[in-house]
Point group: C2
Chain length 333, copies 2
């Protein structure tokens, strides 16, 4: 595992540690439970229990946005480490096992006696869209004390999940990690995570992007929300003035990478069959950050992102099923 | 749920309540860990922990042979009830939720403070075969006190899992349920579960089939093991002398149903693509038992079994994804 070595880590991700519970859902179910299709809702323990009781049978699979991204980095052959909080319970053990068994280093100590391991109840509607209901549970207990300065100092890129902003202690862990990284001369990357997450924390995110973040990853809805604009090009022009590097994803329309005067327009990687869009953004980030950490140019890093996203949307689940280093040959070498 | 009503239950299943943990495995992994491909191994807590540590990332999904069968019965529109033991922990809650949400009645009280909810670590090799490693955990705490005489008396068929014979208290629950059923004038059905399970309990099974079981469900390897013969026809001739009704499954070669002088040879239902054989036997039993409970003739019941098996092997997982009552029209009406 990455943490057993003294050398550089390619990317360390900090995020909400969650186990996904995937079930089939109908549009009528979403309406009845007041859920907006395709977005992430935060739910408390009572609401999570009520929704779970109303949902059909599920499948449990380890998730968490930044954790998925770290699995992608490891799948490319990169050295990845994860920081996020589970409880010392069965789902926490499942999360830990699944992450470590993919080669990602993971040493955050589990919480004991507090809320259980966080979970994301995901309703997949017949149109292949997913509507997420996140009970943060133990993940929101992550605090600055969980961020090991030695790990941050060894990581070429520290990747932070916008979702962390939904709880004060986790937000403090986030800021602490960013400070440590810059103190050690390392890069800080941020994903905005979700347009509603941006809504909840717009000013804080704008200030971060301006002053504390080197690499911004966002999709079209998120970047438009950040700058309160309605079209992609306006958001692109805004972000170029505020972020050193920005990778903006647009689903089937590919991605745009901007850095000062450089602007690359990268096509989406072809997909034989679109099965499940879960994890597309997480895996794009994996390819892009892996590329940057290995010193590849922006366009090549973007193509690795597209490749990883294409792999993950061609099957169920948010983590790659084919080793990405095997697919990457044609793109980067 | 079925148990809320006073009328007849079609089938009540008694079995080991397990959560499956599915992972990709290689032939080399099986050899290294001394596992026989395609069979079920019982493992203790230490071995389960060691195997899990060596396995790749997994997906958790509710399982248990008789529980899968009850989900199939409910999917045909039947009234199904399940008796099996979980612990009062997270995986136990997952098991309970998934079963009830499919419409199966389930009221067995969970154990508290003993071993955790049982699980089955399943390695799926590239040839689509599955090798199972079962840690029984709380499921082996099932005892006669968990078998509610009122439920048994209301069930047209009581279906018992051979796997229950692997622990004394569960074996006693099994015999208790059979006695209660016959005392109430109901039918008792048994599945042999696994050739190695038959090896472990051959004499007890032979005695049960002779004297206490009305309907036997077995696959070719199991029935050959029971009678220590090497060819299917010899086993068929044996079973006709010992069992009132026997349904013998043969994978792609279909099934043979024998009852006294009646012998029906039923073709396998065509499958567009074989994806995962997990649950084929469990779902064959679902269709067959549902048919018998509704008074259909043996051949029609067998065709419902083939139909349900075909559905479940055309996707990942051991429980149906398409409501079986929708598919059944062409077979039974």
């Amino acid at each position: 595992m990455a943490d057993r070595h003294d050398g550089d880590i390619d990317v360390v991700g900090v995020g909400n540690a969650l186990v996904d519970v995937l079930t089939q859902g109908t549009d009528e179910f979403l309406v009845r439970h007041d859920l907006v299709k395709g977005t992430m809702h935060l739910v408390d323990a009572d609401r999570a229990t009520a929704l779970y009781a109303a949902m059909g049978p599920g499948v449990e699979i380890s998730g968490g946005s930044a954790a998925n991204t770290m699995v992608g980095v490891a799948s490319f052959g990169g050295r990845a480490q994860y920081i996020g909080k589970v409880c010392a319970d069965q789902l926490g053990e499942v999360f830990r096992h699944d992450l470590r068994s993919t080669g990602v280093g993971y040493d955050t100590s589990p919480s004991v006696g507090g809320p259980p391991t966080g979970r994301c109840l995901i309703l997949v509607t017949p149109d292949a869209q997913r509507t997420m209901n996140t009970f943060l549970g133990a993940s929101s207990e992550l605090g600055p004390e969980d961020v090991d300065p030695r790990v941050i100092a060894r990581a070429r890129i520290v990747y932070l999940e916008g979702y962390l902003f939904d709880r004060p202690a986790a937000q403090e862990a986030f800021r602490h990690a960013a400070r440590l990284a810059h103190g050690a001369g390392r890069k800080v990357a941020l994903t905005l995570s979700d347009p509603f997450c941006v809504d909840r924390h717009r000013e804080a995110f704008a200030e971060l992007v301006d002053g504390h973040v080197d690499v911004l990853v966002a999709n079209e809805a998120e970047i438009c929300s950040l700058y309160r604009v309605s079209d992609f090009d306006s958001a692109l022009q805004e972000v170029r003035r505020h972020s050193e590097v920005a990778a903006l994803t647009r689903g089937p329309r590919g991605s745009v990478i901007a850095s000062g005067d450089l602007v690359h327009v990268i096509d989406a990687h072809p997909v034989e069959e679109l099965v499940d869009t879960t994890g597309a953004g997480d895996l794009y980030a994996a390819g892009f950050l892996f590329g940057l950490s290995r010193g590849l140019d922006l366009a090549t890093a973007g193509r690795l992102g597209s490749l990883a996203a294409a792999e993950v949307i061609s099957h169920i689940g948010a983590r790659p099923m084919t080793p990405l280093h095997r697919l990457a040959g044609a793109v980067s070498r």
